[in-house]
């Protein structure tokens, strides 16, 4: 019985891993093909089934004048916008979440849960509803087609995620920890920064990871709110798609764009396995 269970368990893991890993392998092999190799049927093994070439990768940092798409600048733009917006969202979101978790707010029928829902409701609305107000506001501020404008918009988009995750996290942190810190001589700010915040790092990492993923993969607002001065990676990658789809370059750009998220996932996993609140309240 145990052997059958083990067999089924590992069988399922293998099948699931294939579903997860196969697209990466497919993209990796395609990124080393040329037009001829892509159109001559399904081939997977370099040197045996097709002759590998770096042309798909070279296109990514050639200038448009020399037939490339130059993703280097959009790549760094994406890093700046996503990291800045995520960092600010986490900082503001953590403070807002702590207040929503620990203090009672009441304005008529609106209470803490309603305010928390208000935050996350920003993510429930279709992006197109927000696009016109954002466009007009950034236009007024002279921030259309700028990194600062994009960072501001992304903060609006990412902070609800941070608030939502952190409220839930703080609700699970016993209030008695804050109270003990107060009794031990901390004022409320010291209690937050000396005791609550150091114990909230796992929650902040999770929230940060989600912010990075949502920020990094956004295409809609990056497309609507930028023109020629500033471009983010997803918009530039789509620009690759001309009359003949260059699958080799698309595959290379897809791999290079997903690489930071994979790195983040590995780092986060290490932190998450280390940090927890056991010992605060056994």
């Amino acid at each position: 019985m145990l052997n059958l269970y083990t067999f089924l368990k590992y069988g399922f893991i293998c099948i699931w891993s294939m579903f997860v890993v196969a697209p990466f392998l497919w993209a990796l092999s395609t990124s080393f093909k040329d037009f001829q190799s892509v159109t001559s049927g399904a081939t997977y093994i370099p040197w045996l089934q097709f002759e590998p070439t770096l042309e798909g990768w070279r296109v990514l940092w050639k200038t448009p004048a020399s037939g490339g798409v130059d993703i280097v600048e959009p790549y760094f733009n994406s890093i700046i916008v996503t990291c800045s917006a995520s960092l600010i969202s986490i900082l503001l979101g953590t403070l807002a979440a702590y207040a929503l978790s620990r203090f009672t707010f009441k304005a008529g029928f609106i209470k803490n849960n309603d305010i928390t829902f208000f935050f996350i409701s920003q993510r429930i609305m279709p992006p197109v509803v927000l696009s016109i107000p954002f466009f007009i506001m950034l236009g007024y501020l002279g921030l259309l087609d700028s990194l600062v404008g994009l960072i501001m918009v992304y903060i609006v988009l990412l902070m609800p995620i941070a608030v939502w995750i952190m409220v839930d996290f703080f609700n699970k942190v016993p209030r008695e920890i804050d109270e003990t810190a107060l009794i031990d001589g901390c004022n409320p700010y010291q209690a937050f920064f000396k005791v609550v915040l150091p114990n909230s790092i796992p929650g902040m990492i999770v929230a940060g990871m989600f912010c990075l993923i949502f920020g990094w993969t956004d295409f809609f607002f990056a497309f609507i709110l930028t023109f020629t001065e500033v471009q983010l990676l997803p918009v530039r990658i789509v620009a690759l798609n001309s009359s003949i789809t260059p699958w080799w370059s698309l595959s290379a750009s897809a791999l290079i764009s997903v690489a930071p998220l994979i790195v983040v996932a590995f780092i986060v996993e290490r932190f998450l396995s280390k940090g927890n609140l056991s010992g605060a309240l056994k």
């Binding site: 901390c186 010291q190 114990n199 056991s278 010992g279 309240l281 056994k282």
Partner: protein, 359 residues
């Protein structure tokens, strides 16, 4: 009195958590707040700590109005029933935390931390992470932190309730030594508990709290011998004192149709009237010539048996020696020791006790 509370009232919604609570406490003494769950014990401790601001009343500590002093400036330490520590700090840093907040000299901090660790039997654990400790050890760290602070008021909110039985017994015994050694005559020790036995064992004064009200305050033996009313009699005994409505009719105590007892000597001065009679479970025993009762439940607890029996509309719990096997529906003969009966008036107040006669 060093800590004086006058008319503390806290009613956050429709229910009183504290209702006109007044008491006086002296340094060097141990006070146990005894009450059932949701009686207001934790609210009272948090009010003393300053975590809850009462809507009415005031507190004076060393003649200073505590209402003007924020939590972090009060000279108070508190141990919760949950094992509350700072998980990101080592054992040493946990205990040193309140001392560092006071910006004490490093040498003094080290001395106090090591001294506290020794008091709670955790010498050698100072470098460990909190997560690496057992539940009992974590609670010892919390206790050591409160001792190291050398606070004027030490609040212990059911600190043993989440420990297993053996550890609870062991720590309770150690508590007495720790308190007598470390909590000097400069501190007031306030311990809250739901367990009457624990309150009696700790000694000191007991404050009976029920639905936010102080029902009685006095030395442990006084509460045990002369509970002020029926509610105190229930709260301060485990199992709760049996309370039976009846009357004194001539030379007999008549309880319902079936229970008739001779009026004991300490009831002689009571006028024939209706009373509520109280008898502890330990004063109920098996006796061949006793009154017949129908068994509802027999709970075996170690070397004793809690026997729940019924007669008419009265249910009585008896605490019998040894393991006694009875099935529901069995009829047993029980003797209610009339010389240990209490009498409470129509308003529930104690009118006669086997220990002090009439009131």
């Amino acid at each position: 009195m060093d800590l004086i509370a006058k008319g503390l009232t806290y009613k956050p919604e429709d229910e009183f958590h504290l209702n006109d609570v007044s008491f006086g406490m002296q340094k060097g003494e141990l006070y146990t707040i005894l009450g059932r769950t949701l009686s207001g014990k934790t609210t009272l401790l948090k009010t003393i700590a300053g975590l809850i601001t009462p809507e009415g009343g005031r507190m004076l500590f060393n003649d200073q109005d505590l209402g003007q002093v924020p939590v972090w400036e009060r000279n108070i330490a508190m141990v919760y029933q949950q094992f509350i520590n700072y998980p990101h700090l080592t054992v040493f840093d946990n205990i040193a935390f309140p001392l560092r907040q006071r910006k004490l000299d490093d040498g003094i901090i080290r001395g106090r931390v090591m001294d506290s660790l020794e008091s709670v039997g955790l010498t050698g654990f100072e470098g460990r992470k909190i997560q690496a400790l057992s539940g009992g050890q974590q609670q010892r760290v919390a206790l050591a932190r409160s001792l190291a602070k050398q606070a004027g008021i030490l609040l212990l909110d059911e600190p043993l309730v989440n420990l297993d039985y053996k550890l609870r017994e062991q720590l309770r015994e150690e508590f007495r030594n720790i308190f007598s050694d470390k909590v000097s005559s400069n501190s007031i020790l306030i311990y809250s508990s739901t367990d009457p036995l624990e309150a009696m064992q700790l000694g000191g004064d007991i404050i009976i709290l029920d639905e936010g009200r102080v029902l009685q305050q006095g030395p442990a033996h006084e509460i045990f011998e002369n509970p002020a009313n029926t509610r105190v009699a229930e709260i301060s005994n485990d199992p709760a004192m049996n309370l039976l409505s009846g009357a004194i009719d001539g030379s007999k105590i008549v309880i319902g149709d079936d229970i008739k007892l001779a009026v004991p000597a300490h009831f002689k001065s009571l006028t024939p009237s209706a009373y509520t009679f109280g008898i502890r479970a330990s004063d109920v025993s098996l006796h061949q010539k006793g009154l017949p009762f129908k068994v509802e439940l027999a709970e075996i607890s170690g070397s004793e048996t809690f026997l729940h029996v019924q007669s008419g509309r009265h249910t009585i719990v008896g605490l019998l020696d040894m393991v006694q096997n009875f099935d529901a529906g069995d009829v047993v003969n029980l003797k209610l020791d009339a010389t240990r009966l209490y009498a409470f008036g129509q308003d529930g107040a104690l009118v006669s006790s086997p220990f002090a006669g009439d009131f």
